[in-house]
């Protein structure tokens, strides 16, 4: 059965198969993306605007702010987890994942 993905409640969370699996409010680390001038950007995800898939990875578009320098950007394609054998496995926000960082 295909995985159902959607953004709900004013972009507050991502629903995966009718469960709230990825919330805003977490601080994610971006090391490979030029989100701001910080070497590693610690980005508060403020709102999601879209959710999609790339291969088995679930990706989100949204708006975030670096909690160190204050730079705010829209981003797209942030990997937030994988669907493995039909079930969603979220990434922890505090890992550095060069391969699944978004474009800004």
């Amino acid at each position: 059965m295909p995985t159902e993905l959607r953004v709900l409640d004013d972009g507050a969370w991502v629903s995966v198969d009718n469960e709230r699996r990825v919330p805003t409010s977490d601080v994610w680390r971006f090391a490979a993306t030029d989100f701001c001038a910080c070497a590693t950007a610690f980005v508060l995800l403020e709102a999601f605007t879209d959710v999609g898939v790339q291969g088995c990875e679930v990706t989100v578009d949204g708006v975030g702010r670096c909690v160190d320098c204050g730079e705010k950007h829209a981003f797209s394609g942030l990997g937030v987890g994988r669907v493995l054998e039909g079930s969603f496995r979220p990434y922890p926000p505090d890992g550095v994942r060069a391969g699944s960082e978004p474009t800004v």
Partner: protein, 597 residues
């Protein structure tokens, strides 16, 4: 392309939802099909039910709409009884105990920890007292706000309550507008002080006269959410009382027809007013949605608006304290810190209202309560009641001015913990910071996110949930704004302090107050003082620092199942539970996946 929400609404919405809720209540939480939960929980909102955040599955927030904030005699007692029986969660809140009622900035009441199995019983009890949860959330005609002392105030221009009741009958007690593109917030003001806060509503009726006829001027497209605050725009329309409902009907139909259904982020009518301009809104309303010629705006009272204005003057900034009613009795406004009252206190307040007033209690947009119809001879006894030690009619300005939204305790949208933190802030400021003696009002509005449920942009000090890093670790924080307020010249706060760690906010406020006291000119209010400075100066005035204030909720409270539980880890959550509160599924292990596995 239609959004999922629009598709769900097209299938089942409005009063058709009720029979499904009744079925789920009878058959239990597990009967809600897994693959339909997003759809059902979106629909439930129309009936005032909001699924609590992740970690609290199977529990709901229930919102009760009280038109104009009026709780008729007997209704508050039922709210207290219902809260005591059904709104008790798995663990206590350290400040508020096992159960409570939240009084909101839209004069509504919110109960938490309601189980789906209990919803119908709760509805039965509420409805037997004339209370309703219909259209309290979702894409609907939300609770109609008004002057909380409409019909009682000795100085009001018109009694807005008659209009509120007419709107209630026409638009709330049916599903005539079952398919609005987005929420629809309506304010009716009848006083000369602006207590309805029409400027921040989608549709505002403001007191006015024209050619000797009393009625309302109409404004459209106000709102605070999503970092896109707007003041309602003047569409140059005066409407006499008897035609107010026709104009409300026409504006609702206009929004229903032309509101954006493709993008929920841009669906509120404020964006349509941005796009069209006030003149086109007026023209389309007249040409397509009313069958009479609209009159141009009448003479209003905006120059005397004092509510939540932060100015020096005779008018009310709020309704706290003892005030005369037109009929010779009095109303007594009691401060409810952050709008939350424990159930035993709710029931005691109902007793006091019965004993010393008419039994009626009203709710204000500043999250406070008003006991009405108190004769002069009973005032002293009411004021001497023990309950008023905690819900004071003459509180410290910091206690009186504090407003907070629900926050991460229950809300999916919030970034930070709010209510308990605001309680701690207010008490700390009361105990350690002094304002000039004559300053009675100092408004601090704390909102957990940009949804702005605590109306942060219209306060002396505006706080909006954020994160920062402290000692290398992400911590809860706030952006700080200054200069907001309503009144004759309403304006929104400028966000002059960013990402202040939550434990340094009281220090920042203390330093602001100290500068204000030292540098104010004459009897200048804080808002006047702020307006005398430019943004760069104000940024320099915000000096966060640690003080004796301690904050136990600096960690990521959204990632707890309940921030105040002894074991707050998500895995320790008892949810979802059955109707008796027994966990349904203990198998909630860590299923996270590192990206590189």
């Amino acid at each position: 392309m239609a959004t999922d929400v629009e598709e769900w609404k097209a299938e089942v919405y409005g009063t058709d939802i009720r029979e499904h809720v009744e079925r789920f209540a009878e058959e239990g939480w597990a009967s809600i099909p897994d693959e339909e939960r997003d759809a059902w929980f979106e629909r439930f909102k129309w009936y005032g039910l909001y699924h609590q955040r992740a970690g609290q599955e199977s529990y709901f927030m229930m919102r009760i709409g009280t038109p104009g904030g009026v709780l008729e005699p007997g209704q508050l007692r039922v709210v207290g009884e219902v809260a005591k029986e059904y709104a008790t969660g798995p663990v206590s809140n350290p400040e508020f105990g096992d159960a409570w009622a939240d009084f909101t900035t839209r004069q509504s009441i919110q109960l938490h920890w309601i189980k789906v199995e209990d919803i119908v019983d709760v509805w039965d009890e509420l409805e037997s007292a004339g209370l309703s949860t219909v259209q309290a959330c979702g894409d609907s005609w939300r609770n109609i706000v008004s002057c909380p002392v409409a019909g009682k105030d000795a100085n009001e221009h018109v009694d807005a309550l008659a209009t509120v009741h007419e709107f209630q009958r026409e638009f709330k007690e049916n599903d005539r507008y079952r398919n609005m593109p987005r929420k629809w917030k309506v304010a009716v003001t009848g006083c000369r002080e602006g207590c309805g806060q029409g400027d921040i509503n989608d549709l505002a009726f403001e007191p006015a006269s024209k050619d000797g006829v009393d009625g309302y001027n109409v404004r459209v497209g106000g709102g605070l959410a999503r970092n896109e605050p707007r003041l309602a725009r003047d569409i140059d329309v005066f409407v006499p009382h008897e035609r107010a409902a026709a104009v409300a009907d026409g504006m609702s139909a206009l929004f229903e027809e032309y509101g954006n259904r493709e993008d929920r982020y841009s669906a509120r009518i404020k964006f349509l007013v941005d796009e069209w301009g006030a003149e086109k809104v007026r023209r389309v309303l007249e040409e397509e949605f009313v069958d009479f010629e609209l009159q141009s705006a009448g003479e209003g009272f905006r120059e005397s608006y004092s509510y939540n204005a932060g100015r020096d003057g005779d008018g009310h900034d709020d309704h706290v304290g003892v005030h005369s009613q037109a009929d010779g009795t009095n109303y007594v406004g009691l401060n409810v810190l952050v709008g939350r009252m424990g159930v035993d206190d709710v029931l005691e307040l109902a007793d006091l209202a019965d004993e010393y007033g008419s039994g009626e209690v009203r709710l204000t947009q500043r999250q406070n309560v008003v006991v009405t119809d108190v004769p002069d001879e009973d005032l002293d006894d009411l004021l001497a009641a023990d309950l008023l030690d905690d819900y004071e009619p003459d509180p410290s300005p910091f206690m009186r001015g504090s407003i907070a939204c629900t926050g991460t305790e229950f809300c999916s949208l919030s970034i930070v913990e709010t209510k308990n933190r605001m309680v701690r802030y207010a008490r700390h400021l009361r105990d350690t910071v002094s304002l000039p003696d004559e300053v009675e009002d100092f408004h601090v509005h704390l909102s957990g996110c940009t949804a702005s449920c605590a109306q942060p942009q219209i306060a002396d000090v505006s706080l909006r949930g954020m994160k920062t890093r402290k000692d290398g670790e992400p911590v809860e924080a706030f952006d700080l704004g200054l200069g907001g307020g309503l009144g004759e010249n309403p304006r929104f706060a400028d966000w002059v302090g960013e990402r202040i760690p939550a434990d340094e906010v009281p220090g920042a406020i203390a330093n602001l107050v100290e500068t204000y006291e030292r540098e104010r000119e004459g009897a200048e209010t804080f808002r006047d003082f702020v307006e005398r400075h430019d943004e760069s100066d104000l940024e320099d005035l915000v000096e966060p620092e640690e003080t004796s204030y301690e904050d136990p909720m600096m960690h990521n409270t959204k990632r707890t199942w309940y921030p105040y539980a002894e074991d707050d880890d998500m895995a320790a959550s008892p949810a979802p539970t059955d109707g008796d509160g027994v966990p349904l599924d203990a198998a909630t292990g860590d299923d996270s996946a590192p990206a590189d596995d």
